[in-house]
């Protein structure tokens, strides 16, 4: 039970689960599996089936995508209290990116079976947990949009007003992609 107690302690620290009751934190701690990764170790690989997601308790990971042939690029980073790997847990698709430990990383892993059992329990805990997962997916979508925006801005000439208008349009399209939520404070400021 000491492992579970450690997991519960880590869960309690995570802002994502701030709305859970103390009893729910203990329950979640019993379901989640604690695991450590050394720098350079892979948490999951792009294209593989996704059998669970990871809540990062400590350390930093890199999100890596294959570009072409053997080429790979780091498209993002995630640190303490971030969630990674939840997309394929939710939609049952393959991993959309690889995740590799940059530092020593301590994670809490949620397996698919436990996630599904939780969803079907019909409890208010299930609702709050589903809400937390939904928010983490929304946060990831915001981040992905930012990454794409970053790519586009690098392509932008700083002076041309024509391009600035075009950029605004792109931002609006991206905002639309995420259901009429603002892309970023910067996008709002420029609009």
């Amino acid at each position: 039970m000491s492992v579970n107690r450690r997991a519960a302690l880590l869960v309690r620290e995570m802002p994502l689960f701030a709305e859970l009751t103390p009893k729910e934190v203990v329950l979640l701690g019993m379901v989640l599996k604690e695991r450590d990764y050394q720098p350079g170790e892979w948490l999951c690989r792009e294209g593989e089936p996704g059998n669970g997601c990871f809540f990062i308790a400590e350390g930093e990971v890199e999100i890596i995508k294959r570009a072409a042939n053997q080429a790979q690029a780091v498209i993002g980073r995630a640190g303490k209290h971030a969630t990674v790997g939840q997309i394929s847990l939710i939609d049952d698709g393959p991993r959309s990116a690889s995740v590799r430990a940059k530092t020593r990383v301590e994670v809490l892993r949620l397996d698919r079976g436990d996630f599904e059992a939780l969803q079907e329990s019909g409890s208010q805990f299930a609702y709050r947990f589903q809400l937390a997962i939904a928010r983490s997916a929304a946060a990831q979508l915001r981040e992905a949009n930012q990454t794409l925006m970053g790519l586009m801005e690098h392509r932008e000439t700083p002076s041309g007003s024509m391009q600035r208008v075009t950029l605004q349009k792109v931002q609006a399209v991206l905002a639309h992609t995420r259901d009429l939520h603002p892309v970023s404070a910067k996008a709002e400021g420029e609009a």
Binding site: I64, K65, R66, A67, A68, N69, Q70, A71, Q72, A73, V74, I75, G76, I87, I90, D91, G93, S96, Q119, G122, Q124, A126, Y127, Q130, L131, I133, A134, A137, A138, Q140, L141, A144, N145, T147, L148, L151, M152, H154, R155, E156, T157, Q163, V165, T166, Q168, K169, V170, A172, V173, A175, H176, T177, R178, D179, L180, H181, V183, A187, E188, A191
Partner: protein, 195 residues
């Protein structure tokens, strides 16, 4: 604009609620309001706080962007569409204007009303949030796909037809290293966004 009761039969028309049974639909219907908009009536403006999701029961709305002193239509939502559903999980300001193109009837789900559903039927609330999450992931995969295409294009244009393997490259370096290709890429990406 007017409000009235929403029935289970209204909700059944949306694939979004396909996983909910009669009892669960009844719980959700209790949190919904009917909104009627006349043609050209505004639903909300950019900057308004977003507290509701909308389903189009009949008619059509347009998502508009003010650019260069005029409005451009970014997209339209017709009967059967849902929009603004991320408001059910987190609230933030609207980033575009939305107005009715024709006479339109919408089902509005206010986030606070929705939060009360979980007291009556937690499983109905879980199913709705699960659907919102699925749609979020769909969009996320689409954006990731764009990033991937972008990366592939960047590598192709900078190294010609023979592509040497590039060891884990920092994203920013990858992009900043080839500023001369900027407009070509931007244009291609734009074309992709609008196609």
């Amino acid at each position: 604009m007017s409000s009235s009761a929403v029935g289970v039969e209204h909700l059944r028309q949306f694939p979004f609620f396909a996983q909910l049974n009669e009892e669960e639909l009844t719980a959700v219907a209790g949190a919904c309001k009917l909104r009627t908009l006349a043609a050209k009536e505004w639903l909300f403006r950019a900057g308004d706080s977003g507290t509701s999701a909308f389903l189009v029961l009949s008619g059509r709305v347009a998502v508009l962007l003010r650019a260069d002193g005029r409005f451009e239509v970014l997209d339209t939502f017709a009967t059967g569409s849902i929009f603004g559903e991320l408001c059910l999980i987190e609230q933030s300001a609207r980033s575009a204007d939305v107005r009715a193109l024709d006479g339109t009837v919408l089902i509005e789900i206010d986030a606070d009303d929705f939060a009360r559903i979980q007291q009556i039927s937690p499983i109905a609330a879980v199913k709705v949030i699960k659907e919102v999450t699925l749609r979020t992931c769909e969009r996320l995969r689409a954006v990731n796909q764009r990033i991937e295409t972008y990366l592939a294009g960047d590598l192709r244009s900078t190294s010609g037809s023979t592509l040497p393997p590039i060891a884990l490259t920092e994203f920013d370096d990858l992009v900043a290293a080839h500023p001369d290709t900027k407009l070509g890429f931007f244009g291609r990406l734009l074309a992709r966004l609008w196609s």
